[in-house]
Amino acid sequence: MTQGRLSTVGLTVAFGDRTALRDVSLVVPPRAITAVMGPSGCGKTTLLRAVNRLDDGVPGMVRTGEVRLGDEEVTAPATDVAGLRRRVGMVFQRWNPFPRSVFENVAYGPRLAGLRDLADLRGVVESSLRKAALWEEVRDRLDADARTLSGGQQQRLCIARALANAPEVLLLDEPCSALDPGATRRIEELLFELRADLTIILVTHNLQQAARASDYTAYLDAGRLVEVAPTRLLFTNPQDPRTEAYLTGRVA
Protein backbone atom coordinates (compact mmCIF):
# COMPACT_ATOMS: atom_id res chain seq x y z
CA MET A 1 0.00 0.00 0.00
CA THR A 2 1.34 3.38 -0.99
CA GLN A 3 -1.24 5.52 0.76
CA GLY A 4 0.44 8.36 2.64
CA ARG A 5 3.96 7.38 1.65
CA LEU A 6 5.78 10.64 1.26
CA SER A 7 9.29 11.24 0.08
CA THR A 8 11.51 13.86 -1.46
CA VAL A 9 14.29 13.21 -3.93
CA GLY A 10 17.03 15.79 -4.37
CA LEU A 11 14.62 18.55 -3.45
CA THR A 12 16.14 22.00 -3.90
CA VAL A 13 14.21 25.21 -3.43
CA ALA A 14 15.54 28.70 -4.01
CA PHE A 15 13.96 32.12 -3.64
CA GLY A 16 15.86 34.35 -6.01
CA ASP A 17 19.51 33.93 -5.11
CA ARG A 18 18.75 32.52 -1.67
CA THR A 19 18.68 28.75 -1.49
CA ALA A 20 16.31 27.56 1.21
CA LEU A 21 16.62 23.80 0.65
CA ARG A 22 19.54 21.97 -0.89
CA ASP A 23 19.29 18.51 -2.31
CA VAL A 24 17.00 17.12 0.38
CA SER A 25 16.16 13.42 0.03
CA LEU A 26 13.90 12.30 2.80
CA VAL A 27 11.56 9.35 3.23
CA VAL A 28 8.69 10.08 5.59
CA PRO A 29 7.25 6.86 7.00
CA PRO A 30 3.48 6.54 6.87
CA ARG A 31 1.40 6.20 10.03
CA ALA A 32 4.04 7.89 12.14
CA ILE A 33 5.01 11.30 13.36
CA THR A 34 8.18 12.68 11.86
CA ALA A 35 9.55 15.74 13.58
CA VAL A 36 11.57 18.19 11.52
CA MET A 37 13.79 20.40 13.59
CA GLY A 38 16.59 22.81 13.03
CA PRO A 39 17.59 26.39 13.64
CA SER A 40 15.44 29.25 12.45
CA GLY A 41 15.76 29.82 8.71
CA CYS A 42 17.09 26.33 7.98
CA GLY A 43 14.24 25.57 5.59
CA LYS A 44 11.69 23.69 7.69
CA THR A 45 8.73 25.75 6.52
CA THR A 46 9.97 25.65 2.95
CA LEU A 47 10.05 21.86 3.10
CA LEU A 48 6.41 21.68 4.21
CA ARG A 49 5.32 24.21 1.63
CA ALA A 50 7.03 22.23 -1.11
CA VAL A 51 4.89 19.23 -0.19
CA ASN A 52 1.56 21.00 -0.69
CA ARG A 53 3.07 23.43 -3.22
CA LEU A 54 1.95 26.47 -1.32
CA ASP A 55 4.99 28.41 -2.48
CA ASP A 56 4.12 27.86 -6.15
CA GLY A 57 3.16 31.46 -6.79
CA VAL A 58 6.08 33.08 -4.99
CA PRO A 59 7.97 35.26 -7.46
CA GLY A 60 11.48 33.99 -8.04
CA MET A 61 10.84 30.56 -6.52
CA VAL A 62 12.75 27.82 -8.31
CA ARG A 63 12.27 24.21 -7.32
CA THR A 64 14.15 21.21 -8.62
CA GLY A 65 14.05 17.60 -7.57
CA GLU A 66 10.90 15.73 -6.62
CA VAL A 67 8.30 15.33 -3.96
CA ARG A 68 6.46 12.04 -4.20
CA LEU A 69 3.24 11.05 -2.52
CA GLY A 70 2.25 7.46 -3.01
CA ASP A 71 2.95 6.73 -6.65
CA GLU A 72 2.46 10.30 -7.71
CA GLU A 73 5.03 12.92 -8.41
CA VAL A 74 3.60 15.88 -6.54
CA THR A 75 6.01 18.35 -8.10
CA ALA A 76 5.07 17.44 -11.67
CA PRO A 77 3.65 20.40 -13.59
CA ALA A 78 0.50 18.49 -14.45
CA THR A 79 -0.42 17.77 -10.83
CA ASP A 80 -3.88 18.89 -9.78
CA VAL A 81 -2.68 21.21 -7.04
CA ALA A 82 -6.05 21.75 -5.40
CA GLY A 83 -6.58 17.99 -5.32
CA LEU A 84 -3.12 17.53 -3.84
CA ARG A 85 -3.93 19.98 -1.08
CA ARG A 86 -7.01 18.01 -0.17
CA ARG A 87 -4.78 14.96 0.30
CA VAL A 88 -2.23 16.96 2.28
CA GLY A 89 -3.60 19.01 5.16
CA MET A 90 -1.64 21.87 6.64
CA VAL A 91 -1.71 23.56 10.02
CA PHE A 92 0.09 26.85 10.40
CA GLN A 93 2.19 28.32 13.13
CA ARG A 94 -0.40 30.98 13.84
CA TRP A 95 -3.92 29.56 13.86
CA ASN A 96 -5.93 31.05 11.04
CA PRO A 97 -9.60 30.14 11.27
CA PHE A 98 -11.92 31.95 8.91
CA PRO A 99 -14.02 34.66 10.55
CA ARG A 100 -17.01 32.37 10.40
CA SER A 101 -18.70 29.87 12.65
CA VAL A 102 -16.97 26.82 14.05
CA PHE A 103 -19.18 24.69 11.85
CA GLU A 104 -18.45 26.61 8.67
CA ASN A 105 -14.72 26.44 9.30
CA VAL A 106 -14.74 22.67 9.46
CA ALA A 107 -17.27 22.30 6.66
CA TYR A 108 -15.22 24.48 4.31
CA GLY A 109 -13.07 21.77 2.75
CA PRO A 110 -15.91 19.27 2.23
CA ARG A 111 -18.07 22.03 0.76
CA LEU A 112 -15.29 22.88 -1.70
CA ALA A 113 -15.13 19.24 -2.61
CA GLY A 114 -18.83 19.37 -3.45
CA LEU A 115 -20.52 18.01 -0.35
CA ARG A 116 -23.90 19.76 -0.10
CA ASP A 117 -26.16 17.58 2.01
CA LEU A 118 -26.47 19.15 5.44
CA ALA A 119 -26.76 15.85 7.29
CA ASP A 120 -23.58 14.62 5.60
CA LEU A 121 -21.82 17.86 6.41
CA ARG A 122 -22.90 17.61 10.05
CA GLY A 123 -21.49 14.12 10.15
CA VAL A 124 -18.13 15.17 8.74
CA VAL A 125 -17.93 18.17 11.02
CA GLU A 126 -18.67 16.13 14.11
CA SER A 127 -16.26 13.34 13.30
CA SER A 128 -13.51 15.82 12.41
CA LEU A 129 -14.02 17.75 15.62
CA ARG A 130 -13.96 14.48 17.57
CA LYS A 131 -10.71 13.47 15.91
CA ALA A 132 -9.28 16.85 16.86
CA ALA A 133 -10.41 16.31 20.47
CA LEU A 134 -12.52 19.43 20.28
CA TRP A 135 -16.06 18.11 19.96
CA GLU A 136 -16.95 18.09 23.64
CA GLU A 137 -15.81 21.68 24.02
CA VAL A 138 -17.65 23.12 21.04
CA ARG A 139 -20.64 20.88 20.47
CA ASP A 140 -22.92 23.55 21.95
CA ARG A 141 -21.36 26.45 20.11
CA LEU A 142 -20.98 25.25 16.56
CA ASP A 143 -22.57 28.48 15.41
CA ALA A 144 -20.25 30.72 17.39
CA ASP A 145 -17.61 32.69 15.57
CA ALA A 146 -14.44 30.62 15.52
CA ARG A 147 -12.44 33.54 16.82
CA THR A 148 -14.27 33.44 20.13
CA LEU A 149 -12.49 30.18 21.01
CA SER A 150 -9.25 30.11 22.98
CA GLY A 151 -5.96 29.97 21.09
CA GLY A 152 -5.49 26.27 21.76
CA GLN A 153 -9.06 25.57 20.69
CA GLN A 154 -8.61 27.59 17.53
CA GLN A 155 -5.50 25.63 16.65
CA ARG A 156 -7.35 22.34 17.22
CA LEU A 157 -10.16 23.75 15.10
CA CYS A 158 -7.63 24.30 12.33
CA ILE A 159 -6.55 20.70 12.74
CA ALA A 160 -10.17 19.56 12.55
CA ARG A 161 -10.65 21.72 9.46
CA ALA A 162 -7.71 20.00 7.79
CA LEU A 163 -8.94 16.55 8.88
CA ALA A 164 -12.35 17.17 7.36
CA ASN A 165 -10.76 16.64 3.95
CA ALA A 166 -9.71 13.13 5.04
CA PRO A 167 -6.08 13.80 4.10
CA GLU A 168 -3.33 11.19 3.88
CA VAL A 169 -0.72 13.57 5.17
CA LEU A 170 -0.86 16.26 7.83
CA LEU A 171 1.76 18.98 7.84
CA LEU A 172 2.12 21.03 11.02
CA ASP A 173 4.38 24.06 11.06
CA GLU A 174 5.33 24.81 14.67
CA PRO A 175 1.68 24.42 15.66
CA CYS A 176 2.31 24.96 19.37
CA SER A 177 4.84 27.75 19.34
CA ALA A 178 2.25 30.30 20.48
CA LEU A 179 0.46 28.01 22.94
CA ASP A 180 0.82 27.41 26.66
CA PRO A 181 2.09 24.03 27.90
CA GLY A 182 -1.40 22.70 28.60
CA ALA A 183 -2.68 23.45 25.13
CA THR A 184 0.57 22.12 23.67
CA ARG A 185 0.16 18.82 25.49
CA ARG A 186 -3.39 18.43 24.22
CA ILE A 187 -2.20 18.82 20.65
CA GLU A 188 0.66 16.38 21.13
CA GLU A 189 -1.73 13.79 22.56
CA LEU A 190 -4.06 14.36 19.71
CA LEU A 191 -1.30 13.81 17.16
CA PHE A 192 -0.49 10.49 18.80
CA GLU A 193 -4.08 9.42 18.21
CA LEU A 194 -4.07 10.66 14.65
CA ARG A 195 -0.94 8.91 13.49
CA ALA A 196 -2.82 5.60 13.41
CA ASP A 197 -3.94 6.45 9.91
CA LEU A 198 -2.01 9.53 8.90
CA THR A 199 1.45 10.54 7.82
CA ILE A 200 2.37 13.43 10.08
CA ILE A 201 5.20 15.90 9.71
CA LEU A 202 5.64 18.09 12.75
CA VAL A 203 7.97 21.02 12.31
CA THR A 204 9.27 22.31 15.58
CA HIS A 205 12.22 24.17 16.92
CA ASN A 206 11.45 22.89 20.35
CA LEU A 207 13.74 19.96 21.15
CA GLN A 208 11.56 18.68 23.98
CA GLN A 209 8.59 18.58 21.68
CA ALA A 210 10.46 16.62 19.05
CA ALA A 211 11.70 14.22 21.71
CA ARG A 212 8.28 13.80 23.30
CA ALA A 213 5.97 13.78 20.37
CA SER A 214 7.60 12.07 17.43
CA ASP A 215 8.56 8.66 16.16
CA TYR A 216 11.25 9.92 13.81
CA THR A 217 13.23 13.08 13.77
CA ALA A 218 14.93 14.82 10.89
CA TYR A 219 17.50 17.49 11.50
CA LEU A 220 17.90 20.27 8.94
CA ASP A 221 20.72 22.73 8.89
CA ALA A 222 21.20 25.55 6.39
CA GLY A 223 18.82 23.92 3.94
CA ARG A 224 20.48 20.51 4.12
CA LEU A 225 19.11 17.35 5.62
CA VAL A 226 21.80 16.45 8.14
CA GLU A 227 20.30 13.26 9.44
CA VAL A 228 17.06 11.45 10.06
CA ALA A 229 16.55 8.58 12.50
CA PRO A 230 14.10 7.13 15.00
CA THR A 231 13.69 9.90 17.54
CA ARG A 232 15.18 8.11 20.54
CA LEU A 233 18.20 7.08 18.51
CA LEU A 234 18.80 10.52 17.13
CA PHE A 235 18.57 12.12 20.54
CA THR A 236 20.78 9.58 22.32
CA ASN A 237 23.25 8.86 19.61
CA PRO A 238 23.45 11.53 16.90
CA GLN A 239 25.62 10.54 14.00
CA ASP A 240 26.56 13.98 12.80
CA PRO A 241 28.51 16.56 14.84
CA ARG A 242 26.10 19.27 13.65
CA THR A 243 23.16 17.39 15.11
CA GLU A 244 24.99 16.89 18.32
CA ALA A 245 25.88 20.57 18.50
CA TYR A 246 22.23 21.48 18.04
CA LEU A 247 21.03 18.97 20.63
CA THR A 248 23.51 20.17 23.21
CA GLY A 249 22.50 23.75 22.66
CA ARG A 250 25.57 24.95 20.89
CA VAL A 251 23.49 26.13 17.93
CA ALA A 252 21.00 28.96 18.32
Binding site: A82, R85, G89, F92, N96, P97, P99, Y108, R147, T148
Partner: protein, 308 residues
Protein backbone atom coordinates in the same frame (compact mmCIF):
# COMPACT_ATOMS: atom_id res chain seq x y z
CA UNK B 1 5.82 71.68 32.87
CA UNK B 2 4.06 72.72 29.71
CA UNK B 3 6.42 74.58 27.41
CA UNK B 4 5.51 77.46 25.15
CA UNK B 5 5.94 75.14 22.18
CA UNK B 6 3.36 72.78 23.65
CA UNK B 7 0.92 75.58 24.17
CA UNK B 8 1.38 76.87 20.66
CA UNK B 9 0.90 73.35 19.35
CA UNK B 10 -2.30 72.92 21.29
CA UNK B 11 -3.63 76.25 20.19
CA UNK B 12 -2.86 75.46 16.56
CA UNK B 13 -4.38 72.01 16.58
CA UNK B 14 -7.38 73.25 18.56
CA UNK B 15 -7.94 75.97 16.02
CA UNK B 16 -7.51 73.59 13.12
CA UNK B 17 -10.00 71.19 14.67
CA UNK B 18 -12.49 74.02 15.17
CA UNK B 19 -12.25 75.28 11.59
CA UNK B 20 -14.13 72.37 10.08
CA UNK B 21 -17.31 72.43 12.17
CA UNK B 22 -17.23 76.22 12.08
CA UNK B 23 -17.06 76.26 8.30
CA UNK B 24 -19.89 73.76 8.03
CA UNK B 25 -22.00 75.77 10.43
CA UNK B 26 -21.26 78.98 8.59
CA UNK B 27 -22.21 77.49 5.23
CA UNK B 28 -25.43 76.12 6.67
CA UNK B 29 -26.35 79.41 8.29
CA UNK B 30 -25.67 81.40 5.13
CA UNK B 31 -27.75 78.95 3.09
CA UNK B 32 -30.64 78.91 5.51
CA UNK B 33 -30.72 82.70 5.70
CA UNK B 34 -30.42 83.04 1.94
CA UNK B 35 -33.03 80.35 1.29
CA UNK B 36 -35.48 81.54 3.92
CA UNK B 37 -37.76 83.55 1.63
CA UNK B 38 -38.08 80.61 -0.75
CA UNK B 39 -38.62 78.12 2.06
CA UNK B 40 -41.34 80.31 3.56
CA UNK B 41 -42.86 80.86 0.14
CA UNK B 42 -42.79 77.52 -1.64
CA UNK B 43 -42.43 75.26 1.39
CA UNK B 44 -42.68 71.57 0.56
CA UNK B 45 -43.47 72.49 -3.04
CA UNK B 46 -39.77 73.05 -3.46
CA UNK B 47 -39.19 69.34 -3.53
CA UNK B 48 -42.67 68.08 -4.34
CA UNK B 49 -43.15 70.06 -7.52
CA UNK B 50 -41.21 69.66 -10.71
CA UNK B 51 -42.23 72.86 -12.34
CA UNK B 52 -39.29 75.21 -12.31
CA UNK B 53 -40.19 78.40 -14.08
CA UNK B 54 -38.33 81.47 -12.86
CA UNK B 55 -40.32 83.60 -15.34
CA UNK B 56 -43.57 82.82 -13.56
CA UNK B 57 -41.96 82.53 -10.17
CA UNK B 58 -42.60 78.79 -9.78
CA UNK B 59 -39.75 76.96 -8.16
CA UNK B 60 -40.08 73.18 -7.88
CA UNK B 61 -36.80 71.27 -7.83
CA UNK B 62 -38.34 67.82 -7.53
CA UNK B 63 -37.01 66.64 -10.87
CA UNK B 64 -33.52 67.83 -10.05
CA UNK B 65 -33.62 66.11 -6.66
CA UNK B 66 -34.70 62.82 -8.21
CA UNK B 67 -32.11 63.28 -10.95
CA UNK B 68 -29.34 63.77 -8.39
CA UNK B 69 -30.28 60.66 -6.45
CA UNK B 70 -30.99 58.52 -9.48
CA UNK B 71 -27.82 59.31 -11.45
CA UNK B 72 -25.60 58.90 -8.38
CA UNK B 73 -27.12 55.61 -7.32
CA UNK B 74 -26.97 54.24 -10.83
CA UNK B 75 -23.38 55.39 -11.17
CA UNK B 76 -22.47 53.54 -7.98
CA UNK B 77 -24.29 50.43 -9.15
CA UNK B 78 -22.17 50.44 -12.30
CA UNK B 79 -18.89 51.54 -10.75
CA UNK B 80 -18.89 49.31 -7.68
CA UNK B 81 -18.69 45.89 -9.37
CA UNK B 82 -16.40 47.27 -12.05
CA UNK B 83 -14.10 48.87 -9.50
CA UNK B 84 -13.93 45.78 -7.32
CA UNK B 85 -13.23 43.63 -10.36
CA UNK B 86 -10.47 46.00 -11.45
CA UNK B 87 -8.98 45.91 -7.97
CA UNK B 88 -9.09 42.11 -7.90
CA UNK B 89 -7.34 41.90 -11.24
CA UNK B 90 -4.76 44.46 -10.16
CA UNK B 91 -3.95 42.94 -6.79
CA UNK B 92 -4.56 39.25 -7.29
CA UNK B 93 -4.29 38.24 -10.90
CA UNK B 94 -1.96 40.55 -12.77
CA UNK B 95 1.80 40.20 -12.58
CA UNK B 96 3.76 42.93 -10.84
CA UNK B 97 4.32 44.90 -14.05
CA UNK B 98 0.77 44.89 -15.32
CA UNK B 99 -0.42 45.51 -11.79
CA UNK B 100 1.60 48.71 -11.54
CA UNK B 101 0.35 49.90 -14.91
CA UNK B 102 -3.27 49.21 -14.00
CA UNK B 103 -2.95 51.01 -10.69
CA UNK B 104 -1.30 54.01 -12.33
CA UNK B 105 -3.94 54.21 -15.06
CA UNK B 106 -6.74 53.98 -12.59
CA UNK B 107 -5.22 56.69 -10.41
CA UNK B 108 -4.83 58.81 -13.50
CA UNK B 109 -8.58 58.63 -14.07
CA UNK B 110 -9.03 60.38 -10.75
CA UNK B 111 -6.74 63.21 -11.82
CA UNK B 112 -8.66 64.11 -14.99
CA UNK B 113 -10.47 67.41 -14.45
CA UNK B 114 -14.22 67.25 -14.31
CA UNK B 115 -14.65 69.59 -17.28
CA UNK B 116 -12.59 67.25 -19.45
CA UNK B 117 -14.92 64.40 -18.55
CA UNK B 118 -17.78 66.69 -19.45
CA UNK B 119 -16.36 67.50 -22.85
CA UNK B 120 -15.63 63.87 -23.53
CA UNK B 121 -19.13 62.98 -22.41
CA UNK B 122 -20.76 65.55 -24.67
CA UNK B 123 -18.51 64.93 -27.66
CA UNK B 124 -18.11 61.16 -27.50
CA UNK B 125 -20.34 59.42 -24.99
CA UNK B 126 -23.64 61.11 -25.83
CA UNK B 127 -23.35 60.64 -29.61
CA UNK B 128 -22.26 57.07 -29.02
CA UNK B 129 -25.27 56.37 -26.85
CA UNK B 130 -27.58 58.01 -29.37
CA UNK B 131 -26.31 56.11 -32.38
CA UNK B 132 -25.30 52.76 -30.87
CA UNK B 133 -26.89 51.97 -27.53
CA UNK B 134 -30.28 53.68 -27.55
CA UNK B 135 -31.53 52.12 -30.80
CA UNK B 136 -30.68 48.70 -29.37
CA UNK B 137 -32.52 49.44 -26.15
CA UNK B 138 -35.64 50.42 -28.01
CA UNK B 139 -37.24 46.95 -28.08
CA UNK B 140 -36.53 46.61 -24.37
CA UNK B 141 -38.21 49.94 -23.78
CA UNK B 142 -41.57 48.45 -24.66
CA UNK B 143 -41.32 46.16 -21.67
CA UNK B 144 -39.19 48.14 -19.24
CA UNK B 145 -40.47 51.65 -18.54
CA UNK B 146 -37.01 52.65 -17.32
CA UNK B 147 -35.76 52.33 -20.89
CA UNK B 148 -38.78 53.67 -22.73
CA UNK B 149 -39.46 56.73 -24.70
CA UNK B 150 -37.81 58.93 -27.26
CA UNK B 151 -34.09 59.24 -26.76
CA UNK B 152 -31.99 62.12 -28.03
CA UNK B 153 -28.72 61.41 -26.27
CA UNK B 154 -28.40 63.78 -23.33
CA UNK B 155 -30.05 61.82 -20.57
CA UNK B 156 -30.01 60.55 -17.02
CA UNK B 157 -28.30 57.42 -18.30
CA UNK B 158 -25.54 59.41 -20.00
CA UNK B 159 -24.94 61.32 -16.78
CA UNK B 160 -24.95 58.14 -14.71
CA UNK B 161 -22.46 56.41 -16.99
CA UNK B 162 -20.17 59.41 -17.02
CA UNK B 163 -20.39 59.62 -13.24
CA UNK B 164 -19.63 55.92 -13.00
CA UNK B 165 -16.45 56.46 -14.95
CA UNK B 166 -15.52 59.40 -12.77
CA UNK B 167 -15.98 57.60 -9.44
CA UNK B 168 -14.50 54.34 -10.69
CA UNK B 169 -10.97 55.26 -9.59
CA UNK B 170 -12.15 55.93 -6.03
CA UNK B 171 -13.86 52.58 -5.73
CA UNK B 172 -10.86 50.91 -7.33
CA UNK B 173 -8.24 52.60 -5.17
CA UNK B 174 -9.99 51.81 -1.91
CA UNK B 175 -10.80 48.25 -2.97
CA UNK B 176 -7.22 47.68 -4.04
CA UNK B 177 -5.97 48.74 -0.68
CA UNK B 178 -8.36 46.69 1.41
CA UNK B 179 -7.96 43.61 -0.79
CA UNK B 180 -4.21 43.81 -0.44
CA UNK B 181 -4.66 44.17 3.31
CA UNK B 182 -6.43 40.83 3.73
CA UNK B 183 -3.85 38.78 5.63
CA UNK B 184 -1.87 36.15 3.80
CA UNK B 185 -2.81 33.67 6.49
CA UNK B 186 -6.47 33.87 5.43
CA UNK B 187 -5.61 33.29 1.79
CA UNK B 188 -3.36 30.38 2.65
CA UNK B 189 -6.00 28.86 4.92
CA UNK B 190 -8.29 28.57 1.91
CA UNK B 191 -5.59 27.46 -0.51
CA UNK B 192 -4.27 24.80 1.84
CA UNK B 193 -7.74 23.28 2.05
CA UNK B 194 -7.89 22.84 -1.70
CA UNK B 195 -9.44 26.11 -2.80
CA UNK B 196 -8.63 27.29 -6.29
CA UNK B 197 -7.46 30.84 -6.71
CA UNK B 198 -10.96 31.90 -7.59
CA UNK B 199 -12.46 30.12 -4.58
CA UNK B 200 -9.86 31.74 -2.37
CA UNK B 201 -10.91 35.14 -3.70
CA UNK B 202 -14.56 34.42 -3.16
CA UNK B 203 -14.26 32.85 0.28
CA UNK B 204 -11.29 34.48 1.96
CA UNK B 205 -10.35 37.71 0.24
CA UNK B 206 -13.61 39.42 -0.67
CA UNK B 207 -15.36 38.68 2.64
CA UNK B 208 -12.35 40.05 4.46
CA UNK B 209 -12.34 43.19 2.34
CA UNK B 210 -16.10 43.72 2.47
CA UNK B 211 -16.17 46.51 5.02
CA UNK B 212 -13.46 48.52 3.35
CA UNK B 213 -15.05 48.13 -0.07
CA UNK B 214 -18.33 49.36 1.34
CA UNK B 215 -16.52 52.40 2.70
CA UNK B 216 -15.00 53.10 -0.70
CA UNK B 217 -18.39 52.85 -2.35
CA UNK B 218 -19.83 55.28 0.20
CA UNK B 219 -17.03 57.71 -0.54
CA UNK B 220 -17.68 57.38 -4.26
CA UNK B 221 -21.39 57.97 -3.78
CA UNK B 222 -20.62 61.19 -1.95
CA UNK B 223 -18.50 62.37 -4.85
CA UNK B 224 -21.15 61.44 -7.40
CA UNK B 225 -23.81 63.42 -5.57
CA UNK B 226 -21.81 66.62 -5.65
CA UNK B 227 -20.36 66.35 -9.15
CA UNK B 228 -21.45 69.28 -11.27
CA UNK B 229 -19.70 70.29 -14.45
CA UNK B 230 -19.51 67.00 -16.26
CA UNK B 231 -23.09 66.11 -15.43
CA UNK B 232 -24.36 69.49 -16.57
CA UNK B 233 -22.88 68.84 -19.96
CA UNK B 234 -24.58 65.53 -20.66
CA UNK B 235 -27.81 65.35 -18.68
CA UNK B 236 -29.92 67.58 -20.90
CA UNK B 237 -30.89 70.06 -18.17
CA UNK B 238 -34.65 69.61 -18.31
CA UNK B 239 -37.00 69.64 -15.36
CA UNK B 240 -38.50 66.42 -16.52
CA UNK B 241 -39.52 63.55 -14.41
CA UNK B 242 -40.33 60.73 -16.70
CA UNK B 243 -39.83 57.09 -15.90
CA UNK B 244 -37.17 56.67 -18.50
CA UNK B 245 -33.44 56.83 -17.96
CA UNK B 246 -33.08 57.71 -21.62
CA UNK B 247 -34.85 61.01 -21.23
CA UNK B 248 -33.11 64.23 -20.25
CA UNK B 249 -33.16 65.31 -16.64
CA UNK B 250 -31.54 67.61 -14.18
CA UNK B 251 -29.53 67.48 -11.00
CA UNK B 252 -29.44 69.92 -8.12
CA UNK B 253 -25.85 70.84 -8.76
CA UNK B 254 -26.39 71.38 -12.51
CA UNK B 255 -29.36 73.57 -11.72
CA UNK B 256 -27.17 75.74 -9.52
CA UNK B 257 -24.38 75.88 -12.05
CA UNK B 258 -26.71 76.88 -14.85
CA UNK B 259 -28.79 79.51 -13.10
CA UNK B 260 -26.86 81.01 -10.24
CA UNK B 261 -24.87 83.40 -12.38
CA UNK B 262 -27.93 84.90 -14.01
CA UNK B 263 -30.56 84.68 -11.32
CA UNK B 264 -33.48 86.92 -12.23
CA UNK B 265 -34.28 88.65 -8.99
CA UNK B 266 -34.43 87.95 -5.28
CA UNK B 267 -37.00 85.18 -5.33
CA UNK B 268 -35.07 83.24 -7.93
CA UNK B 269 -31.87 83.68 -5.91
CA UNK B 270 -33.59 82.52 -2.73
CA UNK B 271 -34.94 79.47 -4.54
CA UNK B 272 -31.42 78.61 -5.73
CA UNK B 273 -30.14 79.01 -2.18
CA UNK B 274 -32.81 76.57 -1.11
CA UNK B 275 -31.65 74.15 -3.79
CA UNK B 276 -28.11 74.47 -2.48
CA UNK B 277 -29.36 73.78 1.04
CA UNK B 278 -31.24 70.76 -0.24
CA UNK B 279 -28.09 69.47 -1.93
CA UNK B 280 -26.14 69.96 1.28
CA UNK B 281 -28.74 68.09 3.31
CA UNK B 282 -28.95 65.23 0.81
CA UNK B 283 -25.17 64.88 0.69
CA UNK B 284 -24.83 64.92 4.45
CA UNK B 285 -27.67 62.44 4.85
CA UNK B 286 -26.28 60.02 2.31
CA UNK B 287 -22.84 60.25 3.88
CA UNK B 288 -24.25 59.70 7.34
CA UNK B 289 -26.20 56.67 6.19
CA UNK B 290 -23.18 55.27 4.37
CA UNK B 291 -20.97 55.82 7.39
CA UNK B 292 -23.51 54.19 9.66
CA UNK B 293 -23.65 51.23 7.32
CA UNK B 294 -19.90 50.84 7.29
CA UNK B 295 -19.69 51.23 11.04
CA UNK B 296 -22.42 48.72 11.75
CA UNK B 297 -20.75 46.09 9.62
CA UNK B 298 -17.41 46.86 11.20
CA UNK B 299 -18.59 46.82 14.77
CA UNK B 300 -20.14 43.40 14.19
CA UNK B 301 -16.60 42.31 13.67
CA UNK B 302 -14.82 44.27 16.36
CA UNK B 303 -17.18 43.06 19.05
CA UNK B 304 -15.94 39.58 18.28
CA UNK B 305 -12.37 40.67 18.47
CA UNK B 306 -12.98 42.11 21.89
CA UNK B 307 -14.62 38.92 23.04
CA UNK B 308 -11.60 36.87 22.17
Amino acid sequence: MIGAGDRAWRATTGLAAAVIPAALLLVTVVLVVGAWPALADAGPGLVASRTWDPGRGTFGAGAALVGTLLTSLLAVLVAAPLGVATAVVTVELAGPRLSRVLAALSDLLAAVPSIVYGLWGAAVLVPLLRSELFPRLKPLGRVIPLLAGPAYGPSLLAAALLLALMILPYVTAVSREVIAAVPRSQREAALALGATRWEMLRDAVLPGARHGILGGVALALGRALGETMAVTMVIGNRHDLSWSLLSPGYTLSSLLANEFGEASGDRHLAALMAVALLLLVVTLLVNAVARGLVRSVRSGRSSLEVAR
